[in-house]
């Protein structure tokens, strides 16, 4: 397990999360419940790969090793070195689970990016500003779906409630701010993201309530820890597929 400096680790957390969320969206290709959703899921995924590239490029620059660029970071790290939040790696399940994951991630992104605009690091500010525009749209869409499914039919309500229940437990990992990150906030390198848990809980509670869904008690940490690369088992299989060509053809240029 490789650890970089605090800011680089944070950039990996942002970039890896966007990438893995996008990879899960790619899995929906040709399987969405309506043509409009094919378009929308891919659209969100596209934004996220773009964001991932921006974060990872900056991380690679900071690492400062000529052999490491954004693609190397994306395609040549094992799961133990991936820093994505646990929420995004979870299997897609049905459309309700996918939307629950997307919504929880969007709320997190929205508040994170909003705060990151206040960073003293110009690159972070630039990426956050650009991403926030996209994420504002993602969030509107995913919260609308949560509401539609939560307050739709009996079946959709049950599925949406089950979906929230099944991924809620990973939310602690979104919301925990590490000591290293708190230090980056204290010295203003990052905008103040230390209130993320409250911001997330309050927006999520509002949308779930509007969706006639119960708001679970805050999730407690339980061993899995994205910052140390202790992921769910599903990530390894996802990476095996995503990274295959780069792994199989290490000398290739694509």
């Amino acid at each position: 397990m490789k650890k970089y400096d605090e800011l680089t680790e944070f950039l990996l957390r942002m970039g890896d999360s966007a990438l893995i969320q996008a990879q899960r969206l790619c899995e929906w290709t040709g399987k969405a419940p309506a043509l409009e959703e094919e378009l929308a899921l891919m659209n969100v995924g596209l934004d996220l790969v773009g964001q991932a590239r921006n974060w990872l490029e900056y991380a690679a620059e900071r690492i400062g090793d000529e052999a490491i660029d954004a693609d190397v970071l994306a395609y040549r790290r094992d799961e133990r070195n991936y820093r994505n939040v646990l929420m995004v790696e979870q299997p897609n399940g049905d459309f309700a689970v996918t939307m629950a994951k997307q919504f929880f991630y969007d709320v997190w992104q929205y508040h994170m990016l909003t705060q990151l605009r206040g960073s003293s690091d110009e690159r972070v500010v630039a990426i956050a500003m650009k991403s926030l525009k996209e994420v504002t749209y993602h969030l509107r869409r995913s919260s609308e779906w949560v509401e539609r499914l939560g307050d739709g039919t009996e079946e959709s309500h049950r599925r949406m409630a089950d979906a929230v229940d099944s991924v809620w437990r990973f939310s602690y990992d979104l919301l925990l701010v590490s000591d290293e990150e708190a230090a980056l906030c204290a010295d203003k390198t990052l905008g103040d993201i230390t209130q993320i848990a409250d911001q997330w809980q309050s927006m999520v509670a509002r949308v779930l309530a509007a969706s006639t869904l119960e708001v679970p008690a805050p999730a407690e940490p339980f061993y899995l820890n994205s910052r140390n690369g202790v992921h769910s088992e599903c990530l390894g299989i996802l990476l095996a597929e995503m990274q295959f060509l780069q792994r199989a053809h290490p000398d290739a240029s694509w």
């Binding site: 290709t29 040709g30 309506a34 043509l35 499914l149 959709s156 995503m242």
Partner: protein, 310 residues
């Protein structure tokens, strides 16, 4: 010919677009619905062979490109179904015909994508052939279809250039294994791409009426020849070959001669017995089937909202 019919044909002859509100012969309407819906179905089914590789795209840049292409195809499907609906057809009904095997879609998407270079070759050859088919449709007599085609063609020619660039990069910067992938992709997709223009003119019975209506503006053979003529120089720049020993430049005609197409394979595929027909239709059916509860929920929710307002 009734006065209505005469006015209709005169309008077409004068290159004035037919619009949804205009009178049109029933057979014109039916032919167009069939043609546009087939085109829309092709966009949707065409996402599947790409979906097979989008999770394995080898770099972030290539992933972005492929995702954008898939997104465009979903978009094309949407425009086209909309254009079709201006003719009074129903999207769900037409999709049901696709799922039950009564409607067709482009035969090329029944071939598997077996290596990454296929993502380049599909863009270059398949979108390339589609463009040759569709460029004349930008001037087709039915207004909504013609306008949809303008946008579709523009995006597809972007896809074509991108696909070609994928292959060119692999040939120019790639390893031996990558070059082999490119040639392999071309070998497998070459003939199916030529088949995209449909049967030879002598076996294409609907053409005459479609030509008069300016739904179709060139024969299958003309378009196929145009595609070949414009593609071979690009193939040569790649440094690849076509899997056709009879292919050669004909000084006299000013065109490339080419070998006999395996029409038996073509008919097998369009009759549903191609390598992936079953998988493609099952994928689409599953998507619609497992999404039923989502669509129902959206409707139910919208009704609740409306009632709350009322």
């Amino acid at each position: 010919m009734s006065p209505e019919e005469r006015a209709f044909q005169e309008r077409i002859d004068a290159e004035i677009k037919i619009e949804a509100k205009n009178w049109m012969p029933d057979s014109y309407r039916k032919t167009l619905v069939r043609q546009i819906s087939q085109h829309a179905h092709s966009e949707i089914v065409g996402m599947l062979p790409e979906g097979n590789w989008v999770t394995r795209a080898p770099t972030l840049k290539r992933k972005l490109q492929l995702m954008a292409k898939i997104q465009d195809e979903a978009g094309h499907g949407l425009y086209l179904y909309s254009a079709m609906e201006t003719l009074g057809a129903d999207r769900d009904e037409e999709i049901e015909k696709l799922h039950s095997g009564r409607a067709k879609y482009s035969s090329i998407f029944n071939y598997p994508t077996l290596n990454w270079a296929d993502m380049g070759a599909v863009g270059w050859l398949v979108d390339g052939a589609a463009i040759v088919n569709q460029v004349p449709l930008q001037r087709t007599s039915y207004g909504p279809y013609a306008r949809a085609m303008i946008r579709v063609c523009k995006e597809e020619s972007f896809h074509q250039r991108q696909g070609y660039e994928i292959l060119l990069h692999m040939m120019q910067e790639g390893t031996d294994a990558q070059k082999e992938m490119v040639q392999d992709a071309i070998n497998r997709l070459w003939w199916p791409a030529l088949m995209m223009f449909g049967p030879s003119d002598e076996h294409s019975p609907n053409s005459a009426q479609s030509m008069a209506w300016k739904i179709k503006r060139h024969t299958n053979n003309e378009l196929r020849q145009r595609f070949i003529d414009q593609t071979i120089p690009q193939l040569e720049i790649l440094g690849c070959t076509a899997p056709d020993p009879d292919l050669k430049w004909n000084e006299e005609t000013g065109h490339y001669d080419f070998g006999e197409i395996q029409w038996e394979e073509f008919y097998r595929v369009i009759q549903g017995h191609g390598p992936c027909n079953r998988e493609r239709l099952e994928a689409r059916r599953n998507a619609i089937h497992s999404g039923a509860w989502v669509r129902e929920a959206a409707v139910a929710h919208a009704q609740k909202k409306q009632q709350a307002v009322a």
